[in-house]
């Protein structure tokens, strides 16, 4: 897939819409295995991202990623703030290094960054469980909405090993991971941004 400034802005707008629409659902997912704030964290963050884009009108994809990174890092907090912030920072790093990098390489940079920051592996029941299969499918040119949905669904039977959900041990089994779900929204929005 190709990404440019316009698509990127459209992506963030679509992601924001999905987050605001799913705010309560994300919080609900964060209730049995978390602390009931993921919807709020993401909603607050994306609201700020959109405001920043409107205020600063970034003039390149690089500038956009930079703006998203700094907004998430300064405004979100929680675990999702630094992790999503790292993701965009990791993407930015690849893009900066080589402006011709394909988008799947850029996203892989995002995933690496999340894992470097959060130390989660695939199967630990975190957003990594969506990012990893998504990046891989993209590399294989096989990314579809179904791939994303299946990745989210697959977090359900897992026992959490990282993040807040790990504190409840076996009781985390049987619930979808909220960060996996919000990451799914991110990638669904990405696919939609390209479709338009």
């Amino acid at each position: 897939m190709n990404m440019d400034l316009q698509t990127g802005i459209r992506w963030m707008e679509l992601f924001n819409e999905d987050i605001q629409q799913n705010k309560d659902y994300l919080t609900q997912l964060d209730t049995p295995i978390g602390d009931s704030d993921h919807g709020n964290n993401m909603s607050r963050g994306m609201d700020q991202v959109i405001q920043a884009i409107e205020a600063e009108s970034p003039d390149s994809l690089e500038a956009l990623l930079k703006l998203v990174t700094s907004t998430l890092l300064s405004k979100v907090g929680g675990a999702s703030g630094p992790l999503y912030g790292s993701a965009f920072m990791g993407m930015l790093k690849i893009l900066k290094g080589d402006n011709t990098s394909s988008w799947d390489k850029v996203l892989r940079g995002g995933l690496d960054s999340i894992q470097k920051r959060g130390k989660a592996e695939v199967g630990d029941k975190t957003m990594v469980d969506v990012w990893a299969p998504v990046v891989k499918s993209l590399e294989n040119k096989q990314l579809t909405h179904v791939v994303i949905e299946e990745a989210v669904e697959a977090t359900k039977p897992l026992k959490a090993k990282k993040g807040r959900a790990s504190y409840v041990g076996d009781r985390s089994i049987g619930h979808i991971d909220p960060g996996a779900y919000s990451s799914a929204l991110l990638f669904q929005a990405m696919l939609k941004s390209e479709e338009k």
Partner: protein, 333 residues
Amino acid sequence: MKKIINTPDTLMMEMINGIVLAHPELELINKYKVIKKKKMNDEKVTLISGGGSGHEPAHAGFIGKGMLDAAVCGEVFASPSQIQVYQAIKETQSNKGTLLIIKNYSGDIMNFKNAAHLAKEDGAVVDYVKVEDDIAVEDSLYTVGRRGVAGTVLVHKIAGAAAEEGRSLSDVKTVAQKAADSVRSIGIALTSGTVPAKGTPTFTLEDDEMEYGVGIHGEPGIRREKMMSASQLAERMVKDLLKDLKVSDDNEEELVVLINGFGATPLQELYLFNNEVARELSERNVKICRTFVGNYMTSVDMAGVSVSLMKLDDELKSLINKESDTPAFKVSG
């Protein structure tokens, strides 16, 4: 949800405003939601803590002589961002450096550590300790360790007293780490709290049920169980704590006891529970150096109680007895 609030969106700002209005010795850096002492001491290690809101009086209530210098306030149950923490470090630097006291949660650890990293790049001298005192949580190689809960308050106290003595950053860190290593907590909930932005209780308990081993964010505990009497509860909690602390009946250890309410449990029950905990300890020949009873590390409006025990050596004992003068934790030296 019935609460004395306006809207969940404005709650945190209105609350921290209410804190500085009640305690004019504190001031608020509005932009970064940092509450700090008005009069800083340049010749003392600066102590910063903080985290998500919803744990009041933690952490702003522990700012003052002999405890913290600043608290960084996140939204309810969400760690403050790394930029907030970074700004707190910048705004409160002393000639002796800064120690961050972090409760062990992924979000808090990431944001505080990154902030320390950023501040160091600017030339600030910063270090941190993390508190992971909750024995309800399994601690293994494969997990992220234990949660930081009410024992954190005692770490603030120890670190604060050491800093007040003019010790170096590394000395303050060492004793704060010892305090963190010496304190263990366990909590139970009788009802769930209600996160304002969510508007409904996090979990539901029947009238004869409790959650054993809860944290301070409405996470369920180890097990849902039948409610017990105060005396049975005290026996169980004290036993679990002493076992984890490796204190046995003939150790002749001396401890600090902190009986912490989670927000909706009245002092009546907390003091009664203290009576049971003291009885359990004295039956085991454990000496109590000091007892603190109150709401120190709450979980919004959850009903329940936690017990924290800190094992003392001579140094910790001397520091716990030093004066502290903060809104929510006062010790007359």
